[in-house]
């Protein structure tokens, strides 16, 4: 009995440490985003005397669509990440289906090549891309970012999907057809429900990947045409040259973290499964 309680409190302590470790910087940036210029330097997690403000958030959206420093990058970030994710998942699903289900030579070369691309240093491509994109007009466009995001997220998508698709009992498709279902019905009623969760998980991982990119976003864009939030954050300036943009950066940082927190809260199990699926087979 005593051992039970001791174990219980040891676990509680370990969990507390983990929570502190992973959440403290987030709490700090949220706290900064709510501070006024006067209290931003006080080093407190909870502002003294209840001096909260939402002004840092309001400033981001001031000036409407044309003049706000944040609306354009936010729309760019969302659109580019969504489009890149959609294309990557379609391409990866084709490839993963073939790899998981069909017999053809070259399969292991494709998987090995994908792994090599995952290790490829993106920095080595920015010079050529910068030069090529400027000469063919892709510089500072959505497509100019979507293409590298596709390339570098496909390995992640293919590996995750192959791991999931290998678990699907594909024979059910034939069984359904024997039972009188048309091929389309068999696909829609049997295979789709089995493949959808894994595919959705891969999509979350790819979205997080694209949402996170900074290197391509600062090298291949020069204006609000295609600049995404991470790049915009690096170039934020204060309202006047005498004010530090700390509060505004913190507020923008909190906003781009919201989708991540939503994914993590709702799909924690799936993300963990996606990241560990097929990672190491003993």
């Amino acid at each position: 009995m005593r051992r039970g309680t001791r174990e219980y409190s040891a676990w509680s302590f370990a969990m507390l440490l983990v929570l502190l470790f992973s959440l403290l910087p987030i709490v700090w940036i949220i706290s900064l985003s709510l501070k006024t210029p006067k209290t931003v330097g006080d080093g407190r997690f909870l502002p003294a005397g209840g001096e909260w403000t939402l002004k840092n958030y309001k400033v981001l959206f001031e000036g409407g669509f044309d003049n706000s420093p944040f609306i354009h990058p936010l729309i760019n970030s969302i659109a580019i990440a969504l489009i890149a994710t959609a294309i990557a998942i379609v391409l990866a699903a084709f490839a993963a289906y073939a790899i998981a289900r069909l017999n053809f030579p070259g399969k292991s070369i494709i998987l090995g090549g994908a792994l090599a691309i995952a290790m490829f240093p993106a920095i080595s491509t920015i010079g050529p891309l910068f030069d090529m994109w400027r000469s063919i007009g892709l510089y500072d466009t959505y497509l100019g970012l979507i293409i590298p995001y596709l390339t570098f997220s496909l390995p992640l998508a293919i590996y995750t999907l192959v791991a999931f698709y290998r678990e699907i009992p594909w024979d059910l498709e034939q069984a359904a057809q024997v039972d009188g279902a048309t091929p389309f019905q068999a696909f829609r009623r049997v295979i789709l429900p089995l493949a959808a969760p894994g595919t959705f998980t891969a999509a979350i991982l790819v979205f997080i990947f694209c949402w996170n990119d900074f290197l391509f976003a600062i090298t291949l864009t020069s204006s609000n045409n295609a600049r995404t939030v991470p790049a915009a954050l690096a170039f934020f300036t204060g309202e006047s040259q005498f004010t530090q943009p700390t509060g505004n950066i913190a507020a923008a940082a909190v906003i781009v973290t919201i989708p991540i927190i939503i994914f993590v809260l709702f799909f924690q199990r799936r993300i963990v499964a996606g990241l560990t699926a097929g990672a190491v087979k003993g």
Binding site: I29, S108, T219, L233, T246, I249, T257, I260, V280
Partner: protein
Amino acid sequence: MAGRLRLGGRRGVTDRAREERRLGWMLCAPAVIAMLLVTAYPIGYAVVLSLQHIDLRFPDQGGWVGLSNYQTVLSSPLWWTDVLNTVIITIISVTIELALGMALALIMHRAIFGRGLVRTSVLIPYGIVTVVAAFAWFFAFDPSSGFVNQLPLIADDKAWFGDRWSAIGVIIAAEVWKTTPFMALLLLAGLTTIDDGLYEAAKVDGANAVQRFFRITLPLMKPAILVALLFRTLDAFRIFDTIFIMTRGAQNTESVSILGYNQIISRTNLGLGSAVSVLIFIMVLLIAFAFVRLLGVRMAEGRPGT
């Protein structure tokens, strides 16, 4: 898997098998092309650029210069400072990540309650934008907005980013925070493959917890650990975002990636910048090769994560 792949060579390939082959290739082709588009061609182009004098500020002065760009880079003290910084950051952060990641993985694996809560909170650093993480840590340490200097034992006016080593320390801390969860998840995947019966048997034989960890857990997890180390090492070696946000390379804190960026984008010196890019590519190849050859990483067990 390898057994199923083989289709018995040329002999006895039925129409159906040929059809399946063609379908397999056709389904994979778009993904393969998309993956090569921004890697194979650009790296070849980078090699071509690195052999020329190309400075976008002086477009008329182009021309082939052989290996002189490489000579310039390799004989510059800045390059070697940056290589040293990158190596130091990589080694220290990956070592800490391995230790912390293992602890986290054990906590997640053996949690007696609150497993979901722990996993959820650990995924937040994994998912968060690196630039945001860098700002969070920067603002925590920066004397004008931070709380770190108010902690006991730390001087109120310590300028963390005014000194090379303290700045590198904060950069490493931010990297460790952001990437330890991924390391932990890879290790967790390895942990779950270990048969619990082994621990029971060891317990019966009188092995204590420490012995069980070093005699059972570690040896059985060696493949998982090596793969995780390889991926994290290469990832850490490419460090860019965190340094760009925190110091932009000031106080001698540049990494090789920052140097490449500065040459190509800030100084628009494509020739010199491409030489840096190609050198980084070669170093990454060497690291991967060393892991595979010296440590015997079986790449088939790896998978990309970030």
